[in-house]
Symmetry: C2
């Protein structure tokens, strides 16, 4: 295994491509000397951006592609037909062993489909979950699965719990992370059919530190480090986090504008409040990993800035150095 | 049909029973002369509370019961065994036509079980959903089902959409309410198996104003008036609303304490902010209705104060006067 970590970056994905993507890639080189980048996209545009920076040319390679997958496109068709798109080519680099990981701010659907079909799953892994970190009062928790696999089975959730645990312990550095399953109450007999079937599997699993059910109310408190759920529920949790955050902040602002007194107060609190909310909503790992694949796929949000791209690339380094996939393979082998 | 609306109130349910429950019942009499109350609970305790107030004795009857269902008890067993509990007796009053509705701040599980087994469902209704109003940027939306029926079928969700629509139009007064189904994306082909099966039923239904899928991100914006989902997802949404609200406010407060400047600002904004958040999180209907039963069951939260009880009783009046159950029966008949 080489000391290098090669990250294929989809230079054309997201609202701020290629400017912020290229900028983030260049920034990442300064963070760690082991990082090497393959920037995949329209060469002319990518080179025009690269020309703005001073960087080690040995560590960035540009791979020209002619197509782009747009956000609105049906993912399965896009992945199948656009063979020369930046995303498909970046993923093929991982498949062919020419890169260790992919980072993309492009179409979520296409990233999920491409991850499973091009990069491919680790042998024995039934499904690859999307696992973003969400902010909590205590720090952050891993939400797994947040939208990759509709209509999950208990055996998928069982593997998600193990993979999430390995990620939290080794990439985020939480020792013996607490694993909980999203449920409608704390009692063991509660839940829908999926949760009732999954619960005893998790309880019996020696590879994880299972603490039982977690009600959605307690997720923001940070009561568990790894939050296991099916993708439909996880997607609702993730998106409600975003939507409710926006509406709450809007309501706070509205409250501040109701009197002269509160308006003066608003001017005084603004910088401190902005800083606190910003640090609450951000994390140092960038995008969400798609776990259980032959290589890492990191999906960062569509409006990612260079900082998000840089952090996502940094996550790939930690993932590789901590040999996450070897650890996942080992746990899966124990199952058989 | 009498002009009177008789509400059976579980005087022993909730953290503040019987004090706040009795107080709320007395308050409700002043709101509308049609309201009559049957206070169900330990007579000595209830009478001791009633003695504190001046009220029309003709309009409050106390019905003595010897048992109380506690929050932690397994609901099915509690409902079956505690025949002389305040909740069971209150529900039997509705079943026997001696009351129009029940209001309880007691054990959620017992209320849901008792509603379905004692009060019973309207003929043709497959399941009775719990339908709380949740705050949004535009006002409030009805979340249906928020926790009553695990493992829903498409035919349940179809009926929930109709019942929710009738309730929002007639009790809350939203003309032609917009109905949406919770989904992981806006496109029709998205979703889990349940949503994919339900979507075309809702789309084809002439009784409702179906606007398609809603992502959880857009729920707090108030994009739809009636939010249809299965109880597991609805419960996660409802509880995350509560939990995230608390953590956000805590973070805002933390932000306010970071500098002298922000501390001074905090003193100035406190009253306005408190008022805004309070009005955002409250609603004028009190508890959540359990719809589709032979009578109305309103579940108010465990820490309900007199105001919540009074509003919940007021909701029973509107429910009765607007003949919600007749309207539900009519829509169900059309199905057959």
């Amino acid at each position: 295994m080489s000391e290098k970590v090669i990250v294929a970056v989809d230079a054309m994905g997201g609202d701020n491509a290629p400017q912020e993507i290229v900028k983030g890639a260049v920034e990442s080189l300064q963070k760690n000397s082991k990082i090497y980048i393959k920037l995949v996209g329209k060469e002319a545009s990518v080179q025009a951006e690269l020309a703005k920076y001073d960087y080690d040319r040995e560590r960035i390679e540009v791979i020209n592609t002619s197509e782009i997958i747009e956000t609105g496109e049906p993912p399965v068709e896009a992945i199948r037909k656009k063979k020369d798109s930046s995303l498909v080519v970046a993923m093929r680099l991982v498949k062919e062993g020419k890169a260790d990981a992919v980072v993309s701010a492009g179409s979520s659907g296409a990233i999920l489909v491409g991850g499973q079909t091009i990069v491919g799953r680790i042998k024995g892994i039934e499904r690859a979950p999307l696992a973003p970190l969400i902010p909590t009062a205590k720090g952050q928790s891993l939400l797994i699965d947040a939208g990759a696999n509709m209509d999950a089975k208990a055996s998928y959730l069982f593997q998600f719990a193990k993979m999430g645990s390995i990620y939290m312990e080794n990439v985020v550095g939480i020792k013996n992370p607490k694993v909980a399953i999203v449920n409608v109450g704390a009692e063991e007999e509660k839940g829908n059919a999926l949760v009732k079937e999954t619960y005893p599997l998790l309880k019996a699993c020696k590879d994880i530190h299972f603490i039982g059910s977690i009600e959605a109310r307690d997720i923001p408190k940070g009561d568990a480090d790894v939050i296991v759920c099916d993708a439909f529920v996880g997607n609702a949790i993730l998106k409600l986090y975003e939507g409710l955050g926006e509406v709450f902040l809007a309501k706070v602002k509205e409250g501040l504008m109701t009197s002269l007194r509160s308006k003066i107060g608003a001017l005084l609190i603004k910088p401190a409040l902005k800083q606190t909310m910003k640090s609450f909503m951000s994390n140092e790992y960038g995008g969400a990993p798609l776990l259980g694949l032959n290589g890492l796929v990191v999906k960062t949000h569509g409006n990612s800035k260079s900082g998000d791209i840089c952090k996502s690339i940094g996550q790939c380094l930690a993932f590789r150095e901590q040999k996450i996939n070897d650890k996942i393979k080992e746990k899966i082998k124990n199952e058989a």
